[in-house]
Subunit: 335 residues, 4 copies
């Protein structure tokens, strides 16, 4: 069986998804490519070897020749398009965030629960990254004892001038919120946000540092640093009662040159997580073929957005802020 | 277009190939699985989701429903089966070595040259390993200046009791010979082999250490250590006139436990080179679809075997041994 | 000139100091060794090659044959003995903390300011550790741009059963408070303390996590983990506006064994900071000989204790707690 | 007791020795400094706080106010000055090589044996380097099983234009020969030397690669690369029957900057081995005070020179060359 996929959105990540679907997945076919910018859609389609271009996302979602939909369009479209996929009864892989508004995420969860079947996967691809998977296995195997703390570091080379601390929380941090829930297997229930003072001449946004607490009393300490300057660098460490497990810095080769022994950083997230995207998308396709589900669910998407909303509030008030987590519907019991 | 692949041989690596073809490749389909042991073939076929099992390799090679053949059967069958693929005019990916006898490799090269078209790829998958690719790019970019030396280390946990130093050279070392030619872009023309004295109580084979010389006067120093005891560990370093580039040790996570900071070794080569196999096989399939060729050619297979034959001779005589390299047919000009 | 040193206190660290003074310092001589336990004093004296043992600390401080005093006796004696040294007009190197009570530290500062001459050095030996020195140089050279955050990790193998989170702050954390002030060159003005819930069956103390803020708006995030289980492990990273500098994990050799590539951790702080202690003590002796001062001053000792007091309060109240820093007397202008 | 040391030679390393003796050693005093260039001697003396300068090495050796002599003058003076120290009955620490001529080394050994007491230590300071000491301990403890191979890498940034492959062997390689004997505890009995072809436009010397064999059948593979370009880099790995132990790359801090994670290399050997020099010199002084001996003996100096002579011959002839090792006098039984 070949899953025929319709791709909505041909920005940076959408174009990458086109290539992954069109050239790297087993059992999948890129059936249709859609973008408001027809030129951009054409380029992505050609690169990926896809013949059909479409301008209207709803036409993609409702096309009989499309079995499943991958949404990589701008954030504010994620919610409505995901709801449209649910209405059409089609499996959908939606890039994160599911929605920046928790209320919209809740609407999606409600709609999916009403259907009684999981169709939505959220693109928190880190759950498929071999490093995070190894870290989680160390926790599950009891190797390090019960986890007490998780340290997360998220650093980008540079953010645009208009980027704010709030955006750091709603745009970058959800990856950390989701992976923390994945690694520790529990909900985040409170967050306290801090922000150092930036004196950079050229402007830019200061890092945000958050201390989150889980229902089990663990701490999740998160640095979101969108102007780190030096490279794309994601790190994680789980500190348990007997030991600790950390992400290993990715490296293909090391260079000895100019009085320096060095490893290169990627300039952005795509090389770092290329394998995670491929595995995520393959697992999604396999799940469609086999009728099972994998990766982050709509529920996970909702939880990440709820944490982000509380973190934004904490950043504004300077106060420790509780996170409101509703009761999890049974549909997501084994997510 | 979907390339329909017939797989011959369902041992350890053959079974892995079945999984790669049947679950990870885009544009490929596992059409037929063949092994002398029908039970083994059945297991591999079922795991990979392939319906058809065959007992006779030639039936696979000549089946109209098979577009291309992957040979993973025992070493001594590689040569004859590859020749049969050439006779059938079908693309073939043959696990290394192409043949342990240089004369048989030469017969394959001759047959392919006579046909005037490259159909044979040899499974030196390291050429697709991201680490080696990065190292080669550093050389090609001139980053480290002209290469002067290549240090190679090949270590296995343990070899069977019947394993010998000669086998270390003919079985394990060809990977090093091929990658040296790939990284340095020239032929090996002489080899001096050494072997330390082993005093292990339980027997086993001592490592072999070889100093190879290239036509351009570079040194390739190779440790083949099939009883290293501690893990599967492959390393490489190219030392140039201005700097050096090294393989980074593969690591997904690091563990802090019991007064030790550690990274795990794989127990064998499959996790270390899983990605290289996937990329190799995908490139092979892509090449079949597009009519181009990638990876190691029959010529490369011949050269690796010629170096191995000279190294075995050097190990026996204790002398520096020249390597006879014939004139390269034009068919392999851009291999 | 040889500085004749009187050592007070022959516990674990005092005994180490005896060996350092008696065998590793240039221009120093261990003149007298003192401990309430005469047997312990005798062992330390013999190991270090010192002939004279004394039971009364004040006799040491006031002995004409003692030029300078090193205090390594229990914490509660630090304050009174340091004051006695000031009264005797003798240079003193006092193990940290100067006193666990800020009021006592202030009395020492006042006494020293009244004398108008710096005689007190506090044993925050990390300021002499080559790794921290390199990190500070990277900051001073502007290599990483203006520092925005400092991440500190302090992990011990295990704490005694009676150890508490408060002790983690007053006993272990002062090292972090002092090194943060040293690395960032500013005062800490607020602290928020967190503590994850421990479920260890055998009891023990949970880690403490603190977010400190400097007068310049930087963040200092500190994990104090006295029950880390796996080893003695101190880490630090300064994140600047353009880059980051981190402590390198100390390592003499790496081991490949049992499917693992590993580096050993020390079981306690002494091997890790042996070189820092030697350099600190040599600098102290050199300063006495030359009439200059080095290392942490009484003022630095006071500041570390003030931060600790606020952190304890924050741990108890769960609130962000401002740190009261008095006006720095001119005597400490270039400390 | 204070050992009064006379220093002969105030070049780069001699000046460092003056500082070590005059400022870092316990129980030692820099009594006299000597160099043919009086200005150079004055600078070294002043830096190290030594009052007395002398122009004649023999005057230093025979001065009643000098208890022991450190020879750091040019290589060709090592032999005669060491013999003069023996004649004067004074302990001497002679920078390596003891002599570049094996015959002269033998004369020193004979002279010392005739006296019946060890007075000569050769400055192979690596035996005091914490990394090598750890590696040796791993061997002695049986951690890695019986050693089969030792891989040594010696790389400098650049050699002068007049430097030759022969000099690489007689000047740099003796450090490797000595440490190999120290780590493996046996003699080197044969050597085969190789040299890649250099095509550097600016000239310079090509690396030398040597495969040495020990009496116990182990291999010692040595790269001497005096024009490595990128930094001062010494590495070592002992491969045993069960595991391997390697030198850890020295690092105080790591830097994240410009898309690169890096550790700095030293530009020359002094920072890398500063601690080894201090420990060596302290052990020498302690040994003089206690009447024992430590470090490399005259016998070790002789053996290193014998290996170098054979290696030079092998480089010239292209042949495996046996190393003539005489019978070790009993005086050196526990060296």
């Amino acid at each position: 069986m070949t899953v025929r996929i319709g791709l909505i959105g041909c920005g940076v990540m959408g174009t990458d998804h086109a290539m992954i679907i069109g050239q790297q997945l087993h059992g999948a076919e890129l059936a249709m490519v859609c973008d408001a910018d027809a030129g951009r859609a054409r380029v992505a389609a050609e690169q990926a070897g896809c013949a059909r271009i479409e301008g209207d996302p709803l036409a993609v979602i409702n096309a009989p020749s499309v079995d499943a939909v991958l949404i990589a369009s701008p954030d504010q479209t994620h919610g409505p398009l995901t709801l449209a996929c649910l209405a059409a009864g089609k499996p959908v892989l939606c890039e994160k965030p599911l929605s920046q508004a928790a209320s919209e995420c809740e609407a999606i969860v409600e709609s999916e629960v009403k259907r009684g079947k999981r169709l939505v996967q959220v693109g928190f691809m880190r759950r498929f990254d071999p490093s995070y998977v190894e870290m989680r296995q160390a926790v599950l195997a009891g190797t390090i004892g019960r986890p007490l703390m998780l340290h997360c570091f998220h650093r980008n080379v540079a953010a645009p001038d208009w980027f704010t601390g709030q955006m750091a929380i709603t745009n970058s941090a959800p990856h950390e919120f989701d992976i923390a829930r994945f690694l520790l297997g529990g909900e985040l229930v409170a967050v306290t946000a801090f922000q150092p003072a930036l004196r950079r001449e050229k402007g830019g946004v200061a890092p945000v540092f958050m201390v989150c607490e889980t229902a089990a009393g663990q701490l999740v300490n998160i640095e979101i640093n969108n102007n780190a300057g030096y490279g794309y660098d994601v790190r994680g460490e789980i500190v348990g009662e007997r030991g600790a497990v950390s992400m290993a810095a990715p490296a293909g080769s090391t260079l000895d040159l100019h009085l320096s022994h060095s490893v290169a950083y990627a300039a952005d997230w795509r090389p770092r997580f290329a394998e995670a995207y491929r595995r995520q998308n393959q697992a999604w396709v396999n799940g469609i073929a086999s009728g099972t589900s994998a990766g982050s669910s709509a529920w996970d998407g909702l939880c990440a957005t709820l944490v982000a909303e509380a973190a934004v509030q904490s950043l504004q008030t300077g106060q420790r802020t509780p996170i409101r987590i509703p009761v999890r519907p049974g549909l997501y019991d084994h997510s």
